[in-house]
C-alpha cells in the first residue's frame, strides 16, 4: 500500500542537525575561531565581502565558518543578511588616488612617481608545497620601512596629461548612482550599473569572460596600466551637519587597464581604459573586471559588435551573479514530479500515435 511521503518536517530538522555536526567535524580537533578565519584565510574573507557586497570581515568570517568553507554559500549568507539592513545613503566617491597602498604596480611604465611596490603578492613565489607549514606556522617578521609620505598618483594621469588616454566622462549629474540592490536591473544598463554588477559578480565567471577576450573573442589587448591595493577612507555627507565626515576605512583593489583604440572618424587614436574596483585584496577579480568593463564599452567607443559573449551586456550581467546562478541551477533538484508527469503522459501519447501511424502504413503496404 502506498504511503504518502509524510514527515518532511522531521527530515528537514534531522538534516540540519547532521549538517551542524558535519560542519564541526571531528570534535577532537580544535574549533576554528572567527579571528583565525579573518586573519589566516583573509583572501577568502575578501572574496565573500566583495561578492556579498558587504564590507565586514568579521561577518564574512562567520559566514565562511557557517558554510563549511563553501564560499558561494558564505556569500549567500552575507547577501541575505545585507538585504535586511536599511540603506542610509551613499558615501562620497572614494579617492583611490589618496590610497595608502600596500601594493602598487604598473605593467606599462618601468617606474613612475610612487614607485613599483610589490607588496604581499604570490606573483613570484614558486608554487611548491611548503611542508614546514604543516608542522608549524611561525614566520620571521618581514622587513619593514617607514611608510612613504608622498602621494601615489594614478598612472593614467600621466597619459591623460598628454591626451593619450580618453578622459573618463564626467557623470551627467550629481545624482547618486542607481543601486543595483534596490532597483531591478534593466537593460541597457549604464556603466556605473555595469561596474556595480561586475564588482559583485562571480570571480570565476568574470575571470572566464575576461579570459575569452584575451583569446580573441572581442580582443581589446589590455595592459595593466596600474594595479593598486590599499586602504582608503570612506566619507559621507551628513545632511544635519552640512559637511562630510569620515565614517571608516576599507581595503580596495583597483585596476586600470590601458587598451588600444584605433580612433574613429571623429576621434584621433587614443588609449582607452577598463576599470575594476573590488573590496579587499582581490586582484584576479579586479583585473578581470577591468577587461570585461572594457569589452562592454564597444558601443560607447564606436567599435564593432563582434558577437562575442564578453561584449554582450545582457548576457554578462544576467549571468554573472553566482547567488542567482547557483540558486536556479540547484533548484532543479527540488521536486518536479508534476511537470514530469505531464511530460510523461505527453511522450506516451506521442509514441502511441507514432506507433499507430507506423502500423497503419505497414498494413497498407
Amino acid at each position: 500500500m502506498y504511503v504518502a511521503v509524510k514527515g518532511g518536517e522531521r527530515a528537514i530538522e534531522n538534516a540540519h542537525a547532521w549538517l551542524a555536526e558535519e560542519r564541526r567535524g571531528d570534535i577532537s580537533v580544535a574549533e576554528l575561531s572567527l579571528a583565525q578565519i579573518r586573519e589566516q584565510l583573509s583572501l577568502a574573507v575578501n572574496r565573500v565581502m566583495a561578492e556579498g557586497s558587504l564590507y565586514d570581515p568579521d561577518l564574512a568570517a562567520l559566514a565562511i565558518k557557517q558554510s563549511r568553507g563553501d564560499l558561494i554559500e558564505a556569500i549567500f549568507l552575507i547577501r541575505a543578511y545585507r538585504t535586511t539592513l536599511p540603506r542610509f545613503g551613499a558615501s562620497r566617491a572614494v579617492d583611490t588616488g589618496a590610497m595608502a597602498c600596500d601594493r602598487r604596480i604598473s605593467a606599462t611604465f618601468k617606474d613612475a612617481p610612487g614607485g613599483q611596490v610589490l607588496g604581499p603578492t604570490f606573483d613570484y613565489t614558486h608554487r611548491l608545497l611548503d611542508f614546514k607549514l604543516a608542522a608549524e606556522g611561525a614566520v620571521p617578521p618581514a622587513p619593514s620601512a617607514p611608510p612613504r609620505r608622498e602621494p601615489t598618483p594614478h598612472i593614467t594621469e600621466f597619459l591623460g596629461q598628454e591626451g593619450l588616454i580618453q578622459p573618463e566622462p564626467e557623470p551627467e549629474s550629481e545624482a547618486v548612482p542607481r543601486d543595483l540592490t534596490r532597483e531591478p536591473l534593466e537593460f541597457p544598463a549604464d556603466r556605473a550599473l555595469r561596474l556595480q554588477s561586475l564588482a559583485r559578480g562571480d570571480e570565476g565567471f568574470v575571470l572566464g569572460m575576461a579570459y575569452s577576450t584575451q583569446r580573441g573573442y572581442a580582443r581589446n589587448h589590455a595592459f595593466v596600466g596600474e594595479l593598486r591595493i590599499g586602504r582608503v577612507t570612506v566619507e559621507m555627507e551628513i545632511p544635519e551637519l552640512g559637511f562630510a565626515i569620515e565614517i571608516g576605512e576599507v581595503e580596495l583593489t583597483e585596476c586600470e587597464t590601458v587598451n588600444q583604440f584605433k580612433g574613429s572618424k571623429t576621434e584621433p587614436p587614443q588609449f582607452t581604459r577598463g576599470y575594476g574596483l573590488v573590496f579587499g585584496q582581490s586582484e584576479r577579480k579586479a583585473i578581470s573586471m577591468a577587461l570585461v568593463d572594457r569589452a562592454l564599452r564597444w558601443q560607447e567607443l564606436g567599435e564593432d559588435n563582434l558577437g562575442a559573449p564578453a561584449q554582450d551586456e545582457e548576457f554578462v550581467l544576467s549571468h554573472c551573479d553566482n547567488i542567482q546562478a547557483t540558486g536556479f541551477l540547484e533548484h532543479i533538484k527540488l521536486p518536479h514530479y508534476v511537470d514530469f508527469q505531464s511530460e510523461l503522459e505527453l511522450v506516451r501519447k506521442l509514441r502511441r500515435e507514432a506507433e499507430e501511424r507506423i502500423a497503419r502504413r505497414e498494413a497498407a503496404e
Binding site: V5, G7, G8, A80, P335
Partner: protein, 276 residues
C-alpha cells in the same frame, strides 16, 4: 540582529512590492519589474512567491503552502515554517480555510473563492524566453503584441509531433492582450485560471511580478483545428477514486507496477474523510 519585521521584509520593501502587485493587477499579464530582494532561501526555491506572500499577508491571514500540489513536500514545509516564524500567521492545509495560498507547480483542485489569493512561484516569467533569450527583445515583442513566433512554435510542434508538445507552463493569453507564462503548472490546470480568486505571480531571480485579477479571461493558446486539451493520466485516483483530479504516478516495485494518486493531497484527504 534578533527581530525581523512582520513577514520578514521591511515595510518599505513591502510597499515597493505592493505597488508592483497593484500595477500587475491593473495591467493583467504584464510583467512588472521589481527590485527583488535577496531572501534567506535560494533563488529557485520560491523567493518571488515568498516576497509576494510577505507583502500580501496580514496578521489575520491563514496561509497554506503547497509544492507539487502537496502540503508536506519539503520545500512547502520549509516556506510554511518561514512564515510561521517571521509572521506568526495561522497556517492550514485545508484549501477552503486558507486566505492566502502559495503554490509551486499546481492550482488546487477545490474551486477558489473571492476571499482568497493564490500566489505562484515562478522560475521563468517570460513565455517568449526560449524563443528569444533577450529581455530587451521580448519586452518589445510584448509591447507590440508580436506573438507570431509563439504561434509558429506551436505550429511546428504540430507539424513534427502531430500535437502541441508543451505539457506544462503552457502559454496563455490574458484579457485578450498579454501572452503570459502560467508558471510550470501542468496544462491540466490552465482552465482553472479563470477564477474568483486573485492570482499573483512572483519571479524573484528574474525580478518580475505579474497578476491575473478575478474573473479575467485566460485563454490557452491553440489553433481551431488543434484545440487546447487539458490532459491528465487516464486513471482515477487509487486512494480516493477521484476521476477529475491531477494524478502523480508512483512506482511501486521492481516490476514497474504503478499506482496513481491525487497530486493535491488536501483534496485526496478530504475526499477520503468524507467517504469514511
Amino acid at each position: 540582529m534578533s527581530d525581523y519585521n512582520f513577514a520578514y521584509l521591511d515595510e518599505q520593501t513591502k510597499r515597493m512590492i505592493r505597488r508592483a502587485i497593484l500595477k500587475g493587477l491593473a495591467v493583467p499579464g504584464y510583467q512588472v519589474p521589481f527590485a527583488s530582494r535577496e531572501m534567506p532561501m535560494p533563488y529557485g526555491w520560491g523567493t518571488g512567491g515568498v516576497q509576494v506572500s510577505a507583502a500580501t499577508l496580514t496578521p489575520e491571514d491563514r496561509l497554506k503552502v503547497i509544492d507539487q500540489g502537496a502540503d508536506d513536500t519539503t520545500n512547502a514545509v520549509s516556506i510554511r515554517k518561514f512564515f510561521e516564524r517571521t509572521a506568526g500567521v495561522a497556517t492550514t492545509e485545508a484549501t477552503q480555510e486558507a486566505t492566502v495560498i502559495q503554490t509551486r507547480h499546481r492550482i488546487p483542485e477545490a474551486e477558489l473563492t473571492e476571499d482568497q489569493i493564490l500566489v505562484y512561484q515562478v522560475p521563468i516569467p517570460e513565455p517568449l524566453r526560449f524563443l528569444e533569450p533577450r529581455k530587451t527583445e521580448t519586452r518589445k515583442m510584448h509591447s507590440l503584441q508580436e506573438y507570431g513566433l509563439m504561434h509558429v512554435k506551436l505550429y511546428e510542434d504540430i507539424s513534427q509531433h502531430g500535437a502541441i508538445s508543451t505539457a506544462y507552463a503552457y502559454p496563455v493569453r490574458v484579457a485578450d492582450r498579454y501572452v503570459m507564462d502560467p508558471s510550470p503548472i501542468p496544462k491540466f490546470d490552465n482552465p482553472k485560471m479563470e477564477m474568483a480568486a486573485i492570482q499573483l505571480f512572483g519571479a524573484g531571480r528574474e525580478q518580475r511580478i505579474y497578476a491575473v485579477p478575478p474573473y479575467t479571461r485566460v485563454v490557452s493558446l491553440d489553433f481551431e483545428d488543434h484545440p487546447f486539451e487539458a490532459t491528465k493520466a487516464d486513471h482515477p485516483c487509487d486512494l480516493c477514486g477521484a476521476g477529475d483530479s491531477y494524478l502523480d504516478e508512483v512506482i511501486m516495485d521492481d516490476a514497474g507496477n504503478r499506482m496513481f494518486v491525487c497530486s493535491d493531497t488536501d483534496y485526496c484527504r478530504s475526499r477520503r474523510e468524507e467517504a469514511a
